[in-house]
Amino acid sequence: MSDVTLTIDGRRVTVPEGTTIWDAAQTLGIDIPVLCHDPRLDPVGVCRVCAVDVGERTLPAACVRAVSPDMEVRTDTQEILAHRRVLTELLLADQPAVSQREQTTGDDKLYALAREVKVTDIPWPDQSERQPRGQDASSPVIAVDHQACIMCDRCVRACDDIQHNDVITRTGKGYSARIAFDLDVPMGESSCVSCGECVAVCPTGALTHQSLATTDAG
C-alpha cells in the first residue's frame, strides 16, 4: 500500500492509495458538498453533487473516485458551481411545499444545500402533479413521503448494510423509481422493525419520525 500525492484546488496532499477524492479533500479542510454520501455508509456517487473536475471528459463523483498520482482536482470552478446548482434545482423542483424534515428534526440536507448554492428560481418543470409519487402512513412511527425522496440510496444502505434488517430496496426504473419495502408492501406491513436508521440518514422529508411528543400530566 503506497501513498499517492495529488493536488486539490492548488494544494498538494499525500494520502494512502485507495483514498477517495472526497476523503482526501477532507484532510485539507475542503468540504465538498454531498447529498447521497455519508462517511458511515459505503459511497454510491448517485446524486453527483460532489462532482469534481479532474481534467477528464466527464466529472467524477469525489465520494467514489479514488485518487491517482499527480491528479489535479478542482472542486470549485464556475462550471462545477453551475452543475451543482442545476442538480439542486432539479431535486427541488418536485419537492413538496413544506419540508417535513425541517419541521421535525431541522436538518433537511437538500434545503441546506439550496441555501449554500443560493437557489431562488427553479427553472425546471414540477413533475409532482403529472407523476405524483405518493405517501405511506402505514407505520406508526415512520412517515414516508415518496414525493420528497431524492433516491439517494442512504436508507437502502442504512437498512441493509448498517442494521442488516434487509427491508428496503429501490423499485422500478427511471423517473418513476422509488424505494420499497420487502415485495413493495406498505412499510407498516413489511418486515421493518422500526429501528429508525433510515429516518436518521434520510437527507430530506422522505422518511421522518411521526410526531411522538406528548405533554405532561403535570
Partner: protein
C-alpha cells in the same frame, strides 16, 4: 442456476413473478425479499400478475413512429376492449426493417398488422409479416463457404502465440463496433495483461438503440463467427468462461445461437480442451430480462451478478475489474465476428476491403424513409448516399431531409452532409458519429422536432434511474420540449442547453450523457426548420 435465469424461467412458465413465487425463491435461496423486488421491478420481462392470455407490444421509437404512429394508435384503440390481449408500447425492438414493428407474445416479431388480422395471428403468430432480408448466410464477411469449414481458423491460430493474434488485429485497424470505437487490439492486450480472476469473455449482444439491428443479422446468420471470435479472445486473455448476453427480443437469433453452441460443443470447439489440452472454454447464452441500459457494459455485468442493471462507476474498467471483479473482455457482436474474418483472411485482406485508406467491411442497419429498410454490408468509407441507394433510395418521393448515422446517440446531419464517408473520424468531424452504424434516414415533410424529441424520449424511457442528472434531467428536458411543442410560450433552447451540459458532464454513463443531445444539437444544426422553431418561440 443464476438467480435472474431462475426468475426468467418462472416468468416464462407461469406468466408472472407473483409474491408467492418470490417468497418461495427467497426462502429456498436464503435471500431477502427486497432483493427480488428490486429485480422484478427493474426488468421489463418480469410481471407481477399474468395479465391477458396474449400480449401485443408496439414499438414507439424512431423509424416505427415515423411509419406507423397513426396505424399503431388505430390498432391499440381497436383492441382496447379485447380481453384476450394486453396492448402496450415498448422501446425499440430491433426490428426496424419491419417498421412499424410489433411483438406478439414475446416470441414473434414483424410488421404491425391490421386489426382485422388479429384473430388469425393469435392462432398462427408466425404468420406475422416480415420483409425479405437480402443478406443471408454465408454473409459477406463469413470466410467459410459451408458449415464443414467452421472453426478452422481458430484451430490454426490457437497454436500460435497470443501476441500474434494481437498483432494481426492491430494491423487490421479494427475498432469496437458497438459504438465506443475503442481499438480492439489494445483492449485485448490490456485485458490479457490484467492480473487476477475470474477471467471472462463476454459478447455484448444487447443492441437496443433505435435503428440498430445489424447485430441481429449476424447472430441469426453467422453465430459461428461470434463463437470463434470469443474463443480466440479467451485464448488471448486466458479465460475459461464465455457469455453471450442476448436481448430477449432476438428470439430467432436465440435459436440459431443455441444450435451453433451445441454443434461447437459436439465438435470439441467448446469444452474442456477448447483452448488447448486442459484449457477449457465454454459459452453460456444468457437472455437479458430487458432494457436498453443493459447494453452498457457495466450494467450488463451487474445483471450477470444478479443485480439491477444499473451502471457502475468507471474506473475501474471491466478490462481489469469486470465480472465478479476479474479481468473481463467485452466486445460487440460485429467486432467478434470481424476478428474471425481478419484472422481467417488476414489483416491485409481486411484493409483492402475499405474505400481508400479505410479498412474493412461494415454492416449498416438502414431504416426510416428508405424504400427497403435492411442491413447492408459496404466497404468502410462508403458515403451515406451509397447506403441509401443500396436500400432502393428514398421512399415515397421524399428527398433527404436529415440523417442520424450511428444510432440515437448520434446527432442528425442535414442532407448536405450525405456525401460524408461512413467512418469514425469523418462523421465525427462532420458533427455527428458512426456509433454502431445504424443509419436512420428522415425525408422531407417530416416533423423533425418530433423525430428528435422521440430520440430523447427513448433515453428518458430507458434511464435506469440511478443518478440525478439523467433520471431527473432527461424527464424534465423532454417535458420541457413537449410543453414547448404543445403549449409554447417559452424559448427553451438556452435552458435545455444548460441542462444538457449538466447531463453531459455529470451523468454516470453514456445514456445520461447523450439523453438531450438529439434535441439540443438539432436546434443548432437545423436553425431554419419550422418544427424546431416552435421550441424557440418566446411568447412572454
Amino acid at each position: 442456476m443464476r438467480l435472474l435465469s431462475e426468475l426468467e424461467s418462472i416468468q416464462a412458465s407461469t406468466g408472472a413473478l407473483t409474491d408467492e413465487a418470490l417468497k418461495a425463491v427467497a426462502e429456498r435461496r436464503g435471500i431477502p425479499l427486497y432483493q427480488l423486488q428490486g429485480l422484478r421491478s427493474f426488468y421489463p420481462v418480469f410481471r407481477e400478475t399474468a395479465g391477458a392470455a396474449h400480449r401485443i407490444q408496439i414499438c414507439r421509437d424512431g423509424p416505427c413512429r415515423l411509419h406507423g404512429q397513426a396505424k399503431a394508435k388505430a390498432l391499440a384503440e381497436a383492441l382496447d376492449d379485447d380481453s384476450r390481449i394486453d396492448v402496450e408500447y415498448v422501446s425499440c425492438l430491433g426490428q426496424c426493417d419491419c417498421a412499424p414493428a410489433v411483438a406478439i407474445d414475446d416470441k414473434h416479431y414483424g410488421t404491425l398488422p391490421q386489426a382485422s388480422d388479429i384473430d388469425v395471428l393469435l392462432d398462427r403468430p408466425n404468420a406475422l409479416e416480415r420483409p425479405a432480408q437480402p443478406l443471408a448466410a454465408p454473409l459477406p464477411t463469413d470466410p467459410y463457404p459451408t458449415q464443414t469449414q467452421h472453426y478452422t481458423t481458430s484451430r490454426e491460430w490457437l497454436a500460435r502465440p497470443a501476441e500474434q493474434v494481437i498483432e494481426a488485429l492491430e494491423a487490421s485497424g479494427l475498432q469496437g463496433l458497438g459504438g465506443a470505437a475503442f481499438p480492439t487490439a489494445r483492449k485485448w492486450s490490456f485485458t490479457r495483461a490484467a492480473e487476477g480472476g475470474p477471467r471472462s469473455v463476454i459478447c455484448n449482444a444487447d443492441e437496443s438503440e433505435p435503428g440498430t439491428f445489424k447485430d441481429r443479422l449476424l447472430l441469426e446468420q453467422a453465430p459461428h463467427l461470434i463463437i470463434e471470435g470469443m474463443l480466440m479472445g479467451a485464448a488471448v486473455i486466458n479465460a475459461d468462461t464465455g457469455i453471450i448476453y442476448l436481448r430477449h427480443e432476438y428470439e430467432t437469433a436465440r435459436q440459431h445461437i443455441e444450435t451453433a453452441l451445441e454443434q461447437a460443443r459436439a465438435q470439441g470447439v467448446l469444452g474442456d480442451n477448447a483452448r488447448g489440452p486442459g484449457l477449457a472454454f465454454d459459452i453460456e447464452l444468457f437472455i437479458s430480462p430487458g432494457g436498453y441500459i443493459l447494453g452498457e457494459e457495466t450494467a450488463l455485468l451487474e445483471a450477470l451478478e444478479d443485480r439491477r442493471g444499473e451502471p457502475r462507476h468507471k474506473p475501474p474498467f471491466p478490462v481489469t475489474a469486470g465480472l465478479h471483479g476479474g479481468p473481463t473482455l467485452i466486445n460487440n457482436v460485429e467486432t467478434l465476428a470481424a476478428v474471425t474474418t481478419i484472422l481467417a483472411r488476414g489483416a491485409q485482406w481486411w484493409r483492402d476491403q475499405g474505400v481508400g485508406d479505410y479498412a474493412g467491411l461494415k454492416y449498416f442497419s438502414v431504416s426510416g424513409d428508405v424504400e427497403h429498410p435492411q442491413v447492408v454490408c459496404l466497404p468502410w468509407g462508403s458515403p451515406v448516399t451509397q447506403a441509401i441507394a443500396a436500400c432502393g433510395g428514398m421512399r415515397a418521393d421524399r428527398d433527404l431531409l436529415a440523417f442520424s448515422p450511428g444510432g440515437a446517440s448520434t446527432p442528425f446531419l442535414p442532407a448536405s452532409a450525405a456525401d460524408t464517408p461512413m467512418a469514425f473520424e469523418t462523421l465525427r468531424e462532420a458533427g455527428s458519429g458512426l456509433g454502431t452504424g445504424a443509419l436512420f434516414v428522415v425525408g422531407t415533410g417530416r416533423n423533425l422536432a418530433d423525430v428528435v424529441i422521440t430520440q430523447a424520449r427513448f433515453f428518458r424511457n430507458e434511464s435506469c434511474g440511478k443518478c440525478v442528472p439523467c433520471r431527473s434531467g432527461s424527464t424534465k428536458g423532454v417535458a420541457m420540449a413537449y410543453d414547448a411543442v404543445n403549449k409554447g410560450g417559452r424559448d427553451i433552447s438556452q435552458p435545455l442547453s444548460e441542462l444538457h451540459d449538466t447531463l453531459m458532464r455529470t451523468s454516470i454513463c453514456g445514456l445520461g450523457q447523450v439523453a438531450l443531445l438529439p434535441i439540443v444539437d438539432a436546434l443548432k444544426t437545423f436553425p431554419d426548420d419550422p418544427s424546431l422553431k416552435a421550441l424557440q418561440k418566446d411568447n412572454a
